[in-house]
Symmetry: C2
Subunit: 554 residues, 2 copies
């Protein structure tokens, strides 16, 4: 705490959401802080691991996200007088002097080691190791879990959607309206982009994080128009500014007739919906350079597509290339294929180069399963707009990261449980990722803090932390230490700079691409191995036996 002044030289912005304050906390963190303080234990040096126990969505990998927000929180950790008063009120019988303790509290004595954000991570391996006085580190538990759990969950969900959609598709996050509250929306936009999405519809997220924005118009826009009389200004200047179309509405109508009577297209439709046509014309006059129309308000093939083509062809005459269409209902495999055929016929019959390459965007309650089904049926969708299922992580709405004490006062601590998956791995640890000959990661291994690190080319025994019979020798071709220092408080030594969102996204995409494919597949993926060193294994089991009560069968 005495070094608080040095701390101020490290200027790090606060968390994105100003509601992330030390009070975004479970009350019991404050009751414990008080009890530690009363017992004079609050400055005991503790080590906590933040990790999860099971990969989400039935998969075998997770993308770690949220670290940047944790560090920003930590760097600005300070209780205001008003907050301190509220805490004191909430702890009946607490002493006034506790307020002085809270007033002096910051993270200058805390150190945080973490796997870089955007990494592919696995169960049991600490994503973060947080060290410092137990009184303050406990106060980081709830906010850190809150900031990491959803971030990692939704980034993983995005990565899974990318995996099933394939690299060539455009993935657009459209979830703002169905997200779990305002920053459920904003953080979903951020972490979906991190997990490999290309753009979002969320303007606030675009502004905050520099994520590319996408958006067209809604059904309401289409139904708000009734007749061509509503278009007052029918003038369109050509893209090069050299010519002017005085009556763009008539020009479009001429094209609509040409399409209707073109030999290969006649019979597909007769009369299109006029209010839809007017809406498209209005939209095109507003955005001639980026015309993209929602074509399913009335009937995709009988109205939306012909209306769109008429407008697109009219724009084309004045040097503008329409972008494409969006489908938001119906059989997306069938409709996208039919739309593509229509565009290709227009290209061929009406001699408009590249018209067949019109972008087809699909939305409407898409998720991993529906995209997979579309792939199996065959489709002509170029871009997927994904909302509800993506941003709320509908198929599994929570990740279960936990924050467990592994050492206090240099004494290792273990949390036992009748459920072996819930036993914690004690000790301040190091973790390494070992790579094989083909460049894929083979196994993650945790060791005690002071064990020598695994060496390239040297055979090493990797043991399952709890299952005696599961072990394997590995000769790593490359060894990567996983935990890097992101926060040192006022301690000496270098720490990692916080990378930009683009850098984190790049890391994520590269790491996902570098995983052995059988870990990544949707059905029956192979679990990635997570292990401990022989020495740590022995120590875990020594502690376990020591702590567990011997039962008595009666």
């Amino acid at each position: 705490m005495e070094n608080g002044s040095e701390l101020t030289t490290q200027i790090i912005d606060g968390p994105t959401n100003p509601m992330v304050t030390p009070l975004l906390n479970d009350l019991y963190q404050f009751t414990m802080a008080y009890a530690y303080w009363k017992a004079g234990k609050h400055n005991e040096r503790s080590v906590f691991d933040l990790y999860f126990r099971k990969n989400p969505f039935g998969g075998e990998y997770t993308v770690f996200a949220g670290l940047d927000e944790c560090i920003k929180f930590l760097a600005n950790f300070k209780l205001s007088d008003e907050e301190i008063d509220y805490v004191r009120e909430s702890l009946p019988g607490s002493e006034e002097a506790f307020c002085d303790y809270l007033r002096g509290l910051d993270c200058s004595d805390v150190e945080v080691y973490a796997i870089p954000e955007g990494s592919v991570v696995f169960p049991k391996v600490p994503l973060m190791r947080v060290e410092g006085p137990v009184g303050v580190v406990q106060l980081l538990e709830t906010p850190f879990l809150n900031l990491v759990n959803f971030a990692s969950l939704v980034a993983t969900n995005a990565a899974r959607h990318r995996f099933v959609a394939g690299k060539s598709k455009n993935l657009l996050e459209f979830g703002a309206r169905r997200a779990q509250g305002p920053d459920g929306a904003i953080s979903a936009s951020k972490y979906c982009y991190l997990g490999g999405f290309d753009a979002t519809s969320n303007v606030a997220a675009g502004k905050l994080f520099g994520i590319p924005l996408r958006g067209t118009h809604s059904h309401a826009f289409v139904s708000s128009f009734m007749s061509t009389d509503e278009i007052v200004d029918k003038v369109l200047h050509s893209a090069d500014g050299k010519t002017t179309c005085e009556d763009f509405v008539s020009h479009v109508q001429t094209w609509l007739k040409k399409i209707q009577y073109s030999p290969s297209l006649s019979g597909i439709f007769s009369e299109t919906n006029q209010s839809e046509l007017v809406a498209f014309i209005s939209y095109a006059l507003a955005f001639p350079k980026t015309f993209l129309a929602l074509v399913d308000t009335y009937d995709v093939m009988k109205s939306g597509i012909p209306n769109f083509c008429a407008v697109a062809l009219a724009l084309n005459d004045f040097g503008y290339k329409a972008l494409g269409i969006r489908l938001d209902s119906g059989d997306l495999a069938y409709l996208s294929t039919e739309a593509r055929k229509f565009f290709c016929t227009v290209e061929r019959e009406l001699k408009v180069p590249d018209f067949g390459k019109m972008v087809v965007t699909a939305s409407n309650d898409l998720n991993e399963e529906t995209i997979d089904a579309l792939n199996k049926q065959g489709h002509e969708v170029d871009a997927f707009g994904i909302g509800t299922y993506l941003v709320t992580c509908y198929s599994q709405a929570a990740l279960g990261c936990v924050f467990k004490l592994v050492e206090i006062n240099n004494q290792p601590r273990i949390k036992l449980s009748e459920d072996v998956t819930k036993v914690s791995i004690p000790c301040k640890k190091r973790s390494y990722r070992l790579y094989g000959k083909e460049g894929y990661p083979l196994v993650d291994i945790m060791t005690g803090e002071n064990e020598p690190p695994p060496k390239v080319g040297e055979r090493l025994l990797c043991r399952h932390p709890f299952n005696e019979s599961k072990r394997a020798y590995v000769v790593p071709q490359r060894v990567e230490e996983l935990l890097k220092c992101y926060w040192r408080g006022s301690a000496d030594g270098a720490r990692e700079e916080l990378p930009s969102l683009e850098e984190i996204r790049d890391r994520c995409i590269k790491q996902l691409a570098n995983m052995r494919p059988d870990h990544m597949r949707r059905l029956n993926p192979t679990p990635y191995k997570v292990s401990v060193s022989a020495k740590l294994y022995d120590f875990i089991h020594f502690l376990w036996l020591n702590e567990a009560p011997v039962g008595e069968l009666q």
Copy 2:
């Protein structure tokens, strides 16, 4: 807009989360605003309905929540210059004059009618009717949906948990760490309280909304202690301040022996875990008036309960009543029952009045199903701490509220769909809840804006909006108009005051209690009827036929 100055006389706080700004929006709302503006349509008077199509969680009711935040958003709706610049950048080719339009934009021409927050609501009936210039009302769609969808979903989830737990139990929301981001946590705390919970662990939510707080300590607190030497100050002053216990540790140890050798309890346990005992003593010294211990770090019956009782009995000697225990793992039915027996035995054998009434709190991944199962098995739990499943709405992570144009320029609009459940109900409407003889609500009915309201004692035909054969006569004993004015912009007339969270919560609890029980049960609940007047029915079907294209079988 000219009346903007009058607007400022209505001072309403902004939304709880400062991230709720006009940019919390889908880009397409701005592209549409631009296209409307370009077409000179932006000031056309429009009416939008906000409603959902299906009750969540397989139930037949929903609690409406989020209105207060919507009105706070609306009342402070204003784009900053920086936001306007960003919007303009995001709309390639847009004209500078559009910025002037955005700069002048506020909600002084908007009117909002809504069902009071905390009401029990049903599919298809508008929760909100928003009227105003189409350019600005479109910009309210995404934020309103975002603010209502999760709020209503999680309030409904809370109400369902209350229903299964019963009125007598204490329900505590413990979800901060697993929620979908920071305000996923804070708003879940708010809306769970609204839906009938008693308290939260979330300190920020407690401070923001005045929700009662609850919290004890964690397993880490227990494992952070090792021996009684760690307790430096062993002194406890009695509750009345008249006596002092110089060595509370020894006093507790004496009690532990007494319990151990009491005839009815001997044999249940031999040696308890000492670090747990020390942790409990420390905690009791910090909070003698509100001692509540987490008893499952080592072994509930062999260590946690005896340790707790020893401390509680020692406190009792000095005039303090311990509150109880928390169980966070294992078979909660069995353990709560065994714990209760133990407490009752202590009361009887050691003559400590009321010791058997110790509060048993249970946590650990609880949800509707597990509480239902506990009820069936029989248990002795007094309070449930519920986290993940409650706040993330795990069993259904999103509610699908939509915002549909129903009228523009006094022209009714209908949105068709091949899926009949997605067809919108056109027209600016009124809605009424009709009550029967027994005081229960019987049916909600929507009518055209200018139809005479249903009258008490007068027979009325209620029709299913889309199913010709479903209709019923009703003679209402009470008629309640559902939509009330919550925002008038600068128009004349009274509007409802925004009630406090407590008032909203009271409404919710009363409305839930007043529903006919068969609508509320978990298994196969009876759907509540939602209808339209005969006149509106005819009009819907006239419009529908008018708009729908006639197919051709080929």
